[in-house]
Amino acid sequence: MAKRLIKVELYQIAKSSMFFIMVITCCIMSFFFTSSDYLLEPIVQNTPNNVVGIYMNSIADVGVALIIIAGCYSAYLFGEQFKQRTFNLKIGCGYSRTQLYLVQCLKTFLIVGLLIGLAVVVGCLKYGIADLIKAVSENMGYFIRSLIFIFFLAFAIVSFCLIFAVIFQDTTKTLIASFVFLFVSCYIMAAIVTNFLASGNHSSAYGISEGAIMKFYPPYLWRWALNPDLNSNQLILTLVIALIWSVVAVSIGCYIFKKKEIK
């Protein structure tokens, strides 16, 4: 039964002009702000001096802004369904609330991953299509790995915005709350965490853990996981952490969605 629901959502995305406007906006942003200057001042550790280096730093820099845009867009799409009362119709058609919420999560997972992944690749195209294809074929493993992390880590961060949509059931409040949450978690908190780790000063907020707890924080992992020299244990751990955060956020959201009276 959920298959039909997924089909409806995919059809809506495919026919939505706003989705394509978002794709174009993200691609343009990535195209303009991806820069070869990343190689002079790299954000990611062990950055190679080629297109792959630009690609990984582009994910670390422009990718964070794209998480905010894609996250707000997903929250908007979810919030609009409350506003337009689409959920009332779907519930009336016999779908369970769990099914509805999980399908929305799947939609968010695909939209966020696709928007960021596509935009980052488009951003790197300005350094030559042939060079990029050559780099992809030579580093296929790294590209697949980074794309998997884009999908899972971005969803781990953005999935919390869906909770705001369920709580507020209003586009404006959802968008403002999502933006504040994403901006604080991706820019402000991640910067504080990075400074703590870089300076080795763990005296105040993270005294007991001595920095280890930051490795469980998805916006920090977003940049950390791009390091090409990570071993397989570290990669698996990153993926597991992303999955745990996603499951927690989806469970909370699903629980609230089931209990909440829809307007």
């Binding site: 942003m29 404006t172 968008l175 901006f183």
Partner: protein, 220 residues
């Protein structure tokens, strides 16, 4: 015009989201500045989130009337579209100024650290920025006529500002063009207060003309 302003003022003061945002701004800034020495420079550096929140609220305040078609009642009452637009801009600017300046003023007087000259420059900079944000909100709301879309576009605009001002290649040039980026230049004496004011007035005029064209051409 007086009645329109009164109406908008009533809507603003009765809007629970307006007061919630003021509380949110005070809360976020209090956490961000906790245990730190507050100066004009640090205030200007860490106010970006406040600027965006305020801008999003202003956009939603104007777009709400278009989305819920309440503007039709104002037009049917015999008010011209231009008057309605100016009343909205005026009250949105007032709301934005209150939200934008509440934390700096409170913290300035509690700490008693700012000299008169510093505080004066800071308030003038943020006054003009508040006006710019209200014109930006008006233009976004007039183009999209939907809260979600106009807020989304405002978010994209502010993120583009952030990325371009921080860009190593075009950052310095963009900081001379984009109002939020110019704040740092004024405080570091790269740009005079007069140049900043003129640039923002130009931005305001362009946004106002665009909003006027949109409101004149649009059907509600």
């Amino acid at each position: 015009m007086g009645r329109l302003i009164k109406l908008e003022c009533y809507k603003l003061l009765k809007d629970r989201l307006f007061w919630t945002i003021i509380l949110l701004i005070i809360l976020i800034n209090s956490v961000m500045f906790a245990g730190q020495d507050i100066s004009i420079d640090s205030l200007a550096q860490k106010m970006f989130l406040t600027i965006v929140i305020v801008s999003l609220y202003g956009t939603s305040f104007i777009a709400k009337d278009y989305e819920e078609k309440k503007i039709i009642y104002e037009i049917l009452s015999g008010n011209s579209k231009t008057k309605i637009l100016f009343a909205k801009i005026l009250i949105t600017a007032l709301g934005i100024q209150i939200q934008l300046l509440v934390f700096p003023i409170v913290i300035g007087f509690i700490n008693n650290k700012f000299t008169d000259e510093n505080l004066k420059i800071f308030l003038v900079i943020y006054f003009w920025l508040g006006i710019f944000l209200s014109f930006l909100a008006t233009m976004m709301a007039n183009i999209f006529k939907s809260q979600g879309l106009s807020i989304g576009c405002a978010i994209v605009f502010h993120l583009i500002t952030l990325l371009s001002v921080n860009s190593s290649s075009v950052g310095f040039i963009m900081a001379h063009i984009l109002p939020v980026g110019m704040i740092k230049l004024v405080l570091n004496n790269y740009v005079t207060l007069n140049q900043y004011t003129v640039t923002l007035i130009v931005w305001d005029l362009v946004l106002l003309i665009l909003a006027l064209i949109c409101v004149k051409k649009s059907e509600f």
